[in-house]
C-alpha cells in the first residue's frame, strides 16, 4: 500500500474535519460517523471492509515508518503544519462546549514548549490559575467540568493537582451523567485506593450502583474497580453481587471484573462468592464469559484441584470459539475471539499440568487449533505461542510437541524480531520436555545471542541458562559475565549475576574454575549479589570436594588464597567480596606455608585500612588476624605482630562499635595464651565441623527452676501472651471495640427489634468457611464472657455489623495456607511427569540425518559461530537434564548416554570431547554422580543453617537433619562466630574463645540456638517461636553473666 494513503494526509482534504477534531465545530451529520456508521455494520458486516482497509493503511504507515526515517520526518513536518492550521481554527472559534479558549491555549503552549523546564513553568502557572479559580463561589458546572479536565491534564504531565481532588469528588455527586462521568474519570485518575477521600465517594458509588440507568451503573463499577479498597469492599459487595444478574451484559461484565478485583485485593472477602464465577462462565454473552476467565485464571492458579471438573467446559468453549460459533463482532483480524482463546489456553495449561487425564481431553482441540491458526497475522502467532506454552505445560503428547517444535522453528527463522523473541522463549519452555529441541536451532540461537537488541539477547541468556549442563557451562557463564560487565542496568545486572552464580554452583566443572568465576562476579557485581553467595563460596572453599581428596582441597585453597592476594591490591572492591577474602586469608592464608604470617597479616591490615568505613570488613579482617595469630601460636612459632597490626588492634579496641571492640579485645586475649589453650579454643581448620545444638536448652533448667523457686513468674510464650491481652481487651471493652473496628457504610436501620433468625445471607457462608482459622473467632469470644453486661445487649448489634467483622477475620494469610498445602501435594506428581516426559522424549529423539542436512546447509556460516555453537550445544543429546530437585538427580543415576551423541554427530562430538577434561573432576554440587549420592555433607553443614537464618523460606528439613548428625568435636568457634556476626548482630558478644572447656560449647549453643530455633522453624512454627522467645528471655543479655562464668573457668 502506498504511503500516500496515510490518515494524516487525509487531513489535508478537509480542514473542517480538523476543527471537529479540536472539538470546536459540532460534527456535521455524516461525520458523527463512527457511531452512525457503526449502526449499519450491524446489518451488513461487509461495510466493515473500507474501515478495515483504512486501519490497514494506518498500520502500514506505522510499520513502514519504522523501516525508514525520511518518510516519517516528512509526515511530521506536514503534521506540524496541519497542527498549526487546526489550532488557528480552534482558536478562532468561540470556545465550544467543554473546552474554553484558555484550555486550548494551554494545550497549545504545552505542545510548543521546547524543553521540559518550559513545560513545567507553563504547568505551574496553570496550577496557580486553577487554584485561584476553583475556589471562586458559584462556578457554573460546565466551567467546573473544564477545570477538572484541566486538572487531569496537569496531573497527567506529572504535577500535583491534589488541591482540586475534592472538586472532582464533588462532581461525582452530580446528577447529570455527563458531569458524573467526568467526576469519576478524574477521581479514578487522581486517587489511589488508600486515599482519604475515598470514603466520600463510597456513598455516591452505592447510590449509583442502584441507578436504573445502566450507563451510570457502568461508570460506578469502573470506579469500584479502581477505588474500592479492602476496607470498603463490604460496603459495595452486596450490590456488586446483585449486578451479576443485571439485564445489560455490559453491567454484568463489569460486575465480574469488579469481583475479580476484590478477589485480588482480599481473597477472603469474596471467598463465599466464588461459585458465582463458575455460574457466569455459562453467561449467554461472550463478553461476560470472557471477563469471567480472568478471575477463574487467578483461582485456578491458586488451587488447581478444585477446578478440574471445569476442564470439559473450557475445552468445549475453546472448541466453539475455534469453530467460529461466537458472533462475528468478536472476530479480530479474521481470528475468532483470539483474546478469549488465549485466556482459555492459559487456564488449560494450568489445569493440565502433570495431569494425564485432564490433558488427554485437550489434545484434540489443541491439535485443531495449531492446524487452523493463521500464522501470517500477529494475533495468530500470539495464539500459536500460547498453544506452545500450553502444550509444554500439560502432560506431553509427542504429536503436539512435534507441531510445537515446527512452529518454533518458524518463529526462529522469521525476520521479525518479535517472533524471534517469542521463539526463543517458547524454545526455553519446550526444552524442558525435549532437550534436543534446541539442537536444530543452534545457529539461530547464536544469532540471537549476538543480536544488537538487548531484549532478545537477554531472552537468549534465559534460554541458555535452561540448557546449561556441565559440558557447556564454561562458555555460557563466560558469555553471561561478559554481558554483565557491559551493562549498566542495576536491576538486570543483579539478576544476571545471581544467574551466573546459580549456574556456576550447579554445574561447575572444577573448583578452580568456580573460584575464578566467582571472583569475576564479585569483582563486577559484588554489591548486587546476595550475601548468601559469599557464604556459599566460603563454605565451598572450606569443604572442598568432601571427604576423600585432601590434596585437591588444599590445592583449591591455595589457589584461592593466591588469587585473592592478587586481587586484593585492586581498588574499590565490593564489601561482600572483601569479606570472603578476609575469611579465606584468615583460615588458609598460611596453610600451605607459601606465605609468611607477617605477609598475610600485613595484607589484612591493608584491607582494614583501605576500607576503614566498612565495619563488617574490618570485623572480618580482625577476626582473620586473630586466626592467623592463633595458628602461629599453636604451631609453636614465635609471634611477631607487625607495628601496623598493633596500631590497628589498638584503634579497634577503642572503636565506637562494640562489636569491633570485642573482637579486638578477644584478639589481645588470644595472643596472650599458650599453645595448648589455643589448640583447644581454636582448633585449626574446623570451620566446617558440625555443631550439635540442643534447642531445648537443658543446661538452663536448673537456673529456671531456681528462679521459679524464688518466686519469679513462669515464662509465657509471646503468642500466648498477646492472645491473652487480646481476650482481656475484648471482654473489657467488647462493646466499644465492636463499634470502632470498622466503618459503617450502611444506612442506620429503623429502630425496631432485629429478628435474630434473619442474618444477612453471605455471613453464614463466611462463618462456615472460616472455621479453620486458628485464632478464636469473634462469635466464640462473645460467648466466653456472658457475665459481662454490655456484651449480650450488643449481640444483636454485632450481627448487623458482620460485614465489618468479616474483614477482621479475613486475614490475608488464611487462604494462602490452604493453597500452599495443595501446591505441595501436586508437586511430586509434576516432577514425576517431567521425568517420564524426559524418558519419552529421548526415546523419540529425531534421527541424526536431519541434523546432518542442516549442517551441510550451514557451510557459509563463520567458523567462529560454529565453534560457539558446538561448545554450547555440544553434548545436548546427553540426557543430562539437570533440574535441581534432588529426586530428579537421584533418579537419573546412570542415565548418561554420551556414546549416543557421538554416534549421532561425530563433528560436534569431537569438540565436546575437547571441552570435557579427559579425567573429569567431580562436580562441585553435582549430586548426579553416583558416588556423591550417599553424601550428606552439603546438607548438614553449619553455613547452610546459618543461611537459613537469612532465608526463612528455606524449608526446615535440611536444617533439622543437620542437628541430629552432629559430631562431638569442639567446633571452630571463631569462624562460626565471624559468620554469625554478619547474620545476626544481636547474637554477638556471647562468645569468648578463651574458654576452652565444655561450658564454652554450651555457651556457644545458646547463641546459636537462638538462631537455629528460627532455622528449624519450617515444620513447627509455633514451637520454634516459643523456644526462640524463651532463649531471648533467658539468655538475651549474656554479657552480664559471661565474664563471671569465664573467670571461674579460667581461674
Amino acid at each position: 500500500m502506498p504511503y500516500g494513503r496515510s490518515s494524516i494526509f487525509k487531513y489535508g482534504l478537509s480542514l473542517d474535519q480538523l476543527a471537529v477534531r479540536a472539538g470546536q465545530i459540532p460534527r456535521p451529520g455524516p461525520q458523527i460517523g463512527p457511531f452512525k456508521r457503526s449502526e449499519p455494520d450491524l446489518a451488513a458486516p461487509h461495510d466493515l471492509l473500507p474501515l478495515a482497509e483504512k486501519f490497514q493503511s494506518w498500520k502500514n504507515l506505522a510499520d513502514q515508518s519504522c523501516l525508514d526515517q525520511p518518510v516519517p520526518r516528512q509526515i511530521e513536518s506536514k503534521l506540524e503544519q496541519l497542527k498549526t492550521i487546526g489550532r488557528e481554527l480552534a482558536m478562532g472559534s468561540h470556545g465550544g462546549f467543554g473546552q474554553s479558549k484558555e484550555f486550548l491555549e494551554l494545550v497549545k503552549s504545552i505542545g510548543e514548549s521546547r524543553s521540559k523546564s518550559e513545560e513545567d513553568r507553563i504547568i505551574l502557572r496553570e496550577i496557580e490559575t486553577l487554584k485561584r479559580r476553583i475556589v471562586e463561589p458559584d462556578i457554573p458546572k460546565r466551567k467546573m467540568k473544564e477545570y477538572i479536565i484541566r486538572l487531569v491534564y496537569v496531573e497527567m504531565l506529572g504535577h500535583d493537582a491534589s488541591f482540586g481532588y475534592i472538586q472532582a469528588v464533588k462532581m461525582t455527586h452530580d446528577d447529570s451523567l455527563l458531569l458524573k462521568r467526568t467526576g469519576y474519570l478524574a477521581v479514578t485518575l487522581f486517587l489511589n485506593e488508600d486515599h482519604d477521600l475515598i470514603i466520600l465517594i463510597v456513598n455516591t458509588i452505592q447510590k449509583d450502583l442502584k441507578s436504573d440507568n445502566y450507563l451510570v451503573v457502568c461508570a460506578a463499577l469502573g470506579a469500584v474497580c479502581r477505588l474500592i479498597n479492602e476496607e470498603t469492599i463490604p460496603a459495595v459487595l452486596p450490590q456488586v453481587v446483585e449486578l451479576l444478574g443485571h439485564q445489560k451484559e455490559a453491567v454484568r461484565k463489569k460486575a465480574v471484573m469488579a469481583l475479580h478485583r476484590f478477589y485480588q485485593k482480599s481473597p477472603s472477602t469474596v471467598s463465599h462468592l466464588i461459585s458465582n464465577f463458575r455460574k457466569k462462565l455459562c453467561d449467554s454473552d461472550p463478553g461476560v464469559m470472557g471477563a469471567t476467565l480472568c478471575p477463574l485464571f487467578d483461582l485456578v492458579t491458586v488451587d488447581v484441584k478444585s477446578y478440574k471438573d471445569l476442564v470439559v467446559s473450557f475445552v468445549s468453549i475453546l472448541k466453539q470459539v475455534v469453530e467460529r460459533r461466537l458472533p462475528k463482532s468478536y472476530d479480530y483480524h479474521q481470528m475468532p475471539a483470539p483474546f478469549i482463546q488465549i485466556k482459555l489456553l492459559k487456564i488449560l495449561g494450568l489445569l493440565g499440568n502433570g495431569d494425564k487425564h485432564a490433558s488427554e481431553q485437550m489434545y484434540t482441540v489443541l491439535g485443531d487449533l495449531m492446524r487452523k491458526c493463521d500464522a501470517s497475522t500477529n494475533i495468530g502467532n500470539a495464539i500459536l505461542y500460547e498453544c506452545i506454552c500450553c502444550i509444554s505445560s500439560i502432560y506431553p503428547n509427542p504429536k503436539l510437541l512435534e507441531a510445537a517444535a515446527e512452529v518454533i522453528s518458524k518463529f526462529l527463522k522469521s525476520d521479525n524480531h518479535n517472533l524471534k523473541y517469542m521463539g526463543i522463549d517458547a524454545l526455553g519452555r519446550l526444552i524442558k520436555l525435549s532437550p534436543d529441541a534446541a539442537e536444530q536451532h543452534q545457529l539461530a540461537v547464536i544469532d540471537c545471542l549476538e543480536d544488537p537488541d538487548d531484549t532478545l539477547k537477554r531472552k537468549t541468556f534465559e534460554l541458555l541458562q535452561k540448557m546449561t549442563k556441565s559440558s557447556n557451562v564454561e562458555v555460557i557463564v563466560d558469555r553471561m559475565i561478559d554481558y554483565m560487565i557491559s551493562i549498566n542496568d542495576f536491576h538486570y545486572k543483579t539478576e544476571i549475576a545471581s544467574r551466573c552464580v546459580e549456574l556456576a554452583e550447579q554445574f561447575a566443572p572444577s573448583n578452580h574454575w568456580f573460584i575464578l568465576t566467582m571472583n569475576k562476579v564479585f569483582e563486577h557485581a559484588g554489591d548486587l549479589v546476595n550475601i548468601k553467595v559469599a557464604h556459599n563460596l566460603m563454605r565451598l572453599i572450606a569443604e572442598g570436594f568432601g571427604e576423600d581428596d585432601d590434596t585437591a582441597d588444599s590445592q583449591l585453597r591455595s589457589s584461592a588464597v593466591e588469587s585473592y592476594l592478587r586481587i586484593v591490591t585492586e581498588p574499590k572492591l565490593p564489601s561482600a567480596f572483601l569479606q570472603v577474602i578476609c575469611w579465606v586469608l584468615g583460615e588458609y592464608g598460611t596453610a600451605d606455608g607459601k606465605y609468611s604470617a607477617s605477609y598475610i597479616t600485613g595484607k589484612l591490615c591493608d584491607i582494614a585500612e583501605a576500607y576503614s568505613s566498612d565495619e563488617t570488613v574490618k570485623a572480618y579482617a580482625i577476626t582473620a588476624l586473630m586466626k592467623i595469630y592463633a595458628i602461629e601460636i599453636a604451631a609453636g612459632r614465635r609471634l611477631d605482630i607487625l607495628p601496623e597490626c598493633q596500631t590497628l588492634i589498638e584503634e579497634l579496641a577503642a572503636s565506637h562499635s562494640t562489636d569491633l571492640q570485642q573482637r579486638a579485645y578477644e584478639l589481645q586475649a588470644v595472643v596472650g595464651l599458650d599453645a595448648r589453650a589455643i589448640e583447644s579454643a581454636m582448633p585449626s581448620d574446623a570451620s566446617c565441623e558440625d555443631i550439635e545444638i540442643d534447642v531445648t536448652l537443658p543446661f538452663l533448667d536448673s537456673f529456671v527452676q531456681q528462679s521459679l523457686h524464688n518466686g519469679d513468674q513462669p515464662y509465657i510464650p509471646e503468642d500466648e501472651r498477646s492472645r491473652a491481652i487480646d481476650i482481656s481487651n475484648f471482654s473489657n471493652q467488647g462493646h466499644r471495640e465492636s463499634s470502632t473496628h470498622g466503618l459503617k457504610f450502611e444506612a442506620y436501620e429503623m429502630p425496631k427489634l432485629p429478628v435474630p433468625s434473619h442474618p444477612p445471607p453471605p455471613v453464614s457462608h463466611v462463618s462456615t468457611e472460616l472455621v479453620s482459622i486458628p485464632e478464636p473467632s469473634y462469635s466464640r469470644e462473645t460467648q466466653f464472657s456472658p457475665t459481662n453486661p454490655p456484651v449480650p445487649s450488643s449481640d444483636a448489634e454485632l450481627k448487623l455489623r458482620l460485614d465489618g467483622v468479616q474483614k477482621k477475620w479475613g486475614k490475608p494469610t488464611y487462604p494462602s495456607t490452604s493453597s500452599s498445602s495443595s501446591g505441595y501435594s501436586s508437586s511430586p506428581a509434576n516432577g514425576a511427569s517431567q521425568m517420564e516426559s524426559a524418558a519419552t522424549s529421548t526415546s523419540t529423539s529425531r534421527p541424526g540425518e536431519t541434523y546432518k542436512d542442516l549442517k551441510k546447509a550451514e557451510v557459509e556460516i563463520s567458523p567462529e559461530k560454529q565453534k560457539l555453537a558446538a561448545s554450547l550445544f555440544g553434548g545436548s543429546t546427553r540426557s543430562e537434564k539437570r533440574i535441581s530437585t534432588t529426586t530428579h538427580r537421584a533418579s537419573k543415576g546412570g542415565g548418561h548416554s554420551t556414546e549416543k551423541s557421538s554416534v549421532l554427530k561425530p563433528s560436534a562430538a569431537s569438540t565436546t570431547k575437547a571441552n570435557i577434561p579427559p579425567q573429569p573432576l567431580p562436580d562441585l554440587l553435582d549430586l548426579g554422580e553416583p558416588a556423591r549420592l550417599s553424601m550428606v555433607a552439603p546438607l548438614t553443614d553449619p553455613f547452610m543453617q546459618l543461611e537459613g537464618l537469612l532465608d526463612q523460606k528455606e524449608s526446615g528439613s535440611s536444617g533439622t537433619c543437620a542437628v541430629t548428625d552432629g559430631s562431638n568435636k569442639e567446633p571452630d568457634i571463631v569462624s562460626l562466630y565471624s559468620d554469625l556476626h554478619m547474620d545476626e548482630q544481636s547474637s554477638q558478644s556471647t562468645l569468648n574463645p578463651l574458654a576452652p572447656s565444655e561450658s564454652n560449647s554450651s555457651n556457644l549453643r545458646r547463641t546459636i540456638s537462638g538462631g537455629l530455633a528460627q532455622a528449624t522453624k519450617g515444620p513447627n512454627l509455633k514451637e520454634a517461636l516459643e523456644k526462640d522467645a524463651l532463649v531471648r528471655q533467658v539468655g538475651v543479655n549474656p554479657t552480664t553473666q559471661n565474664p563471671n562464668l569465664f573467670k571461674d573457668l579460667l581461674g
Binding site: L67, L104, M156, T188, P338, I379, T455
Partner: protein, 161 residues
C-alpha cells in the same frame, strides 16, 4: 495483568497515562522518565518488548506516538501488542482515522474508550463493536445535554434581548 498504559510522543511528551497498579506521583514521573529513555532510543527493527524492573513493557509506534503497556513477566507479549492495536483501532473507529491531535485535544475521550476496553488491568471487552456502542451510548447523552444547554442559552439570549 497490565500495570499501566502510557502514550508518549516521539519527543517524549506524555499524551496519556493510566495506572492500574498503585504508583505515587513521584514514582510515576520516574517511571515515565525511565521508560521514555529506554523506548524512544530503541532502534527501528528491534523487537517491541523491553524488560524493565522485572516487568515487561510492550510498545508500539503509530506515526509519532508510542503506545506502551507494562505487563507481568509471564504474560503473552504478542497478545498485548494486539491489545494495543485493538485500542488503536477502536480509537480510529471513534475519531475516524485518528491522529495525535485527536488524542491531545480529546484526551478525556481517549480515557473513556480505554476504560471500556481495559478494566482493572485486564482486557474486558474484546469486541470493538460493543465498545463503540457503549461509547456511543454515553456520547448520545452528552449530545442530549449539549442540546439542552444550547436551548437554554438560546432562551436566555432571547430573554435578555
Amino acid at each position: 495483568m497490565i500495570h499501566f498504559v502510557l502514550l508518549v510522543s516521539r519527543q517524549g511528551k506524555v499524551r496519556l497515562t493510566k495506572w492500574y497498579s498503585p504508583y505515587s506521583q513521584k514514582e510515576r514521573t520516574k517511571v515515565i522518565r525511565e521508560l521514555t529513555g529506554l523506548i524512544l532510543t530503541r532502534g527501528l527493527k528491534l523487537c517491541n518488548f523491553v524488560e524493565w524492573r522485572g516487568y515487561k513493557v510492550v510498545y508500539k509506534r503509530y506515526a509519532s506516538l508510542y503506545f506502551c503497556m507494562c505487563i507481568d513477566q509471564d504474560d503473552n507479549e504478542l497478545e498485548v501488542l494486539e491489545i494495543i492495536h485493538h485500542y488503536v483501532e477502536t480509537l480510529d473507529r471513534y475519531f475516524g482515522s485518528v491522529c495525535e491531535l485527536d488524542l491531545i485535544f480529546n484526551f478525556h475521550k481517549a480515557y473513556y474508550i480505554l476504560d471500556e476496553l481495559l478494566l482493572a488491568g485486564e482486557l474486558q471487552e474484546p469486541s470493538k463493536k460493543i465498545v463503540a456502542r457503549l461509547i456511543a451510548g454515553q456520547d448520545s447523552l452528552v449530545e442530549a445535554a449539549k442540546e439542552e444547554a444550547n436551548s437554554i442559552s438560546n432562551i436566555i439570549a432571547q430573554a435578555t434581548k
